[in-house]
Amino acid sequence: MLRIALPKGRLGEKAYKALATAGYPCPELLEDNRRLIFENPGAGVQYFLVKPSDVSVYVEHGAADAGIVGKDILLEYEPDVYELFDLHMGKCRMCVAGPDAFRDTHTRALRVATKFPHIASRYFESQSREIEIIHLNGSIELAPLVGLSDVIVDIVETGTTLRENGLSVLETVVPVSARFIANKASFKFKGDEIRHVLDGLKSCLSEKD
């Protein structure tokens, strides 16, 4: 039985549909209920629904053999897992954004509000820019509006939230999309099953393209 961790929400549903088409259906998963574990013994699969940022934790610690997770989470937490496939789903960008009129004068440390302190630190470090990280857990766009930070580092999908709050993208840090990951030990002992899922996903997604 292959255990796959899926992120709750839109990306999880989309990824599940691809997995179902690839031969790993578990229709109960799309029903309106609060269950977290879904199993289809016939297809040899068990799904866990978890918080998107926890998918890599479940996989790295071997509670799940594989999972679907955003590249942003992989870059932020650097879990020791195999990153086997880019599903090209949930595409967005990790960006530095700030007030439309913002200009970095380089006269003091840049105050950066973010949910992704590791990505932000590495990015500005690569530019030798001294920063002060303000770690927030949500509504990041508010930070520069109320003077908590100069800029933010966050995920931008369409840019609507930024625009509605008078912010704009200043720089793109890295493009982000969903990845199929696997636990390293599971890959040794369930390698054939994992490759089978991978091949199914690839052919299902390439047909869609």
């Binding site: 790295e60 610690h61 071997g62 937490y77 650097e78 879990p79 020791d80 897992v81 195999y82 990153e83 086997l84 496939f85 880019d86 636990n183 390293k184 030990a185 599971s186 890959f187 040794k188 002992f189 390698g191």
Partner: protein, 350 residues
């Protein structure tokens, strides 16, 4: 694992069995001090999985560290011994595990071989690694790689040395799409792209895997390493039939490792339980000539793959009105192999 009933923990039993195995191959027990001068780790921080180290100031004012790693101490402290040095140890290391946020005491048992790393010596190391894993469980997998070979292949693929960290990280993660983006960005020739792609997906028995690599027009220096690797694998497999896989995601730091690298897995344990490699550059950094290789078996998570042992039945002998008779009776029962508590059995008062 019936010995567990004798009151030993699974990790203690396994550690004893591993040391007995290493003893059969001439490895003598080496006891290292729990502390080491902090400077050793500052100078070799890339050798550690995490550079944070628990430190304290000794009474003489010297900054000391609780050992985050055993190999560094063994290499440094066996400097004057006649080679080959064959030592095994069973020690605790204190470090922050990868992805962790606090220090842990990590129990490890391992070997260090410092001497000429000729094929027979390396085959013996592979054999010991496989036998070590087999002592823990027969559901094991041993992956090997070779840092020298990886370096040769990267050179053949025309990768600039400045790009090695990025490329090695992608190989380590089997990040095939990342590598495709990289090769496209660098406009590498088709042959380089194919080789890098193969380095990512290759994971299987050593000899067929090497055959797939030899489809590329590799230079003699690369083929020489591949022949050596094949010889080592064949030799160890003549006496041990377990699967030995070549997988380039098993990588060490190039500053410290230059040859064979090993990573062993046990079904049911999410991370490698055995890690090792040939570390000639480390010897050289510590002012020592020659070659050396070693591996450690991490016993912290071993209980995850062990069957739960039923609790041994305990017999109670109440002292009653004749404590002397009860004392003697309890001792008689213990002599029969029973577990006996001299006293009243506690009953649930609810």
């Amino acid at each position: 694992m019936s010995e567990i009933t004798a009151g030993m923990r699974a990790d203690e039993i396994l550690s004893a069995r591993l040391r007995a195995l290493y003893g059969q191959y001439g490895y003598r027990i080496y006891k290292v001090n729990r502390f080491e001068a902090y400077e050793l780790y500052v100078q070799n921080k890339n050798f550690l999985t995490d550079e944070r180290v628990l430190t304290f100031t000794d009474l003489n004012g010297r900054l000391m560290a609780l050992k985050p790693d055993i190999t560094l101490s063994v290499v440094r402290n066996t400097r004057d011994e006649r080679e080959p040095v064959r030592v095994c140890y069973s020690e605790s290391a204190y470090r922050v595990p990868r992805g962790g946020d606090r220090f842990q005491e990590i129990m490890q048992t391992g070997i260090e071989y410092i001497g000429n790393c000729e094929p027979a010596a390396l085959a013996e190391i592979l054999l010991l690694a496989q036998k070590s894993l087999c002592i823990i469980s027969d559901r094991y997998a041993l992956d090997i790689s070779h840092m020298g070979l990886v370096q040769e292949l990267l050179r053949f693929a025309r990768i600039e040395e400045t790009d090695y960290p990025e490329v090695l990280e992608m190989i380590r993660r089997k990040d095939r799409h990342g590598m495709q983006d990289f090769t496209a960005r660098q406009a590498l020739p088709g042959q380089s792209c194919d080789l890098l792609d193969l380095m990512i997906i290759l994971s299987g028995p050593v000899i067929p895997a090497l055959e797939r690599l030899s489809a590329f027009p590799l230079p003699e220096s690369t083929l020489q390493i591949m022949r050596e690797l094949e010889q080592i694998a064949r030799l160890s497999q003549r006496v041990w039939s377990g699967t030995l896989n070549l997988d380039f995601s098993v990588l060490g730091d190039m500053q410290y490792y230059n040859g064979l690298t090993l990573s062993g897995f046990i079904d049911g344990i999410p991370s490698p339980v055995l890690i090792g490699g040939q570390y000639d550059p480390l010897l050289s950094r510590l002012g020592r000539q020659g070659q050396g290789i070693g591996f450690a078996v991490y016993l912290n998570q071993i209980d995850r793959c062990m069957p739960e042992m039923p609790e041994k039945a305990i017999q109670f002998v109440p002292p009653g009105s004749d404590p002397e008779a009860a004392f003697l009776e309890a001792e008689r029962l213990r002599a029969d192999g029973k577990t006996v508590i001299l006293g009243e059995e506690e009953t649930d008062k609810c």
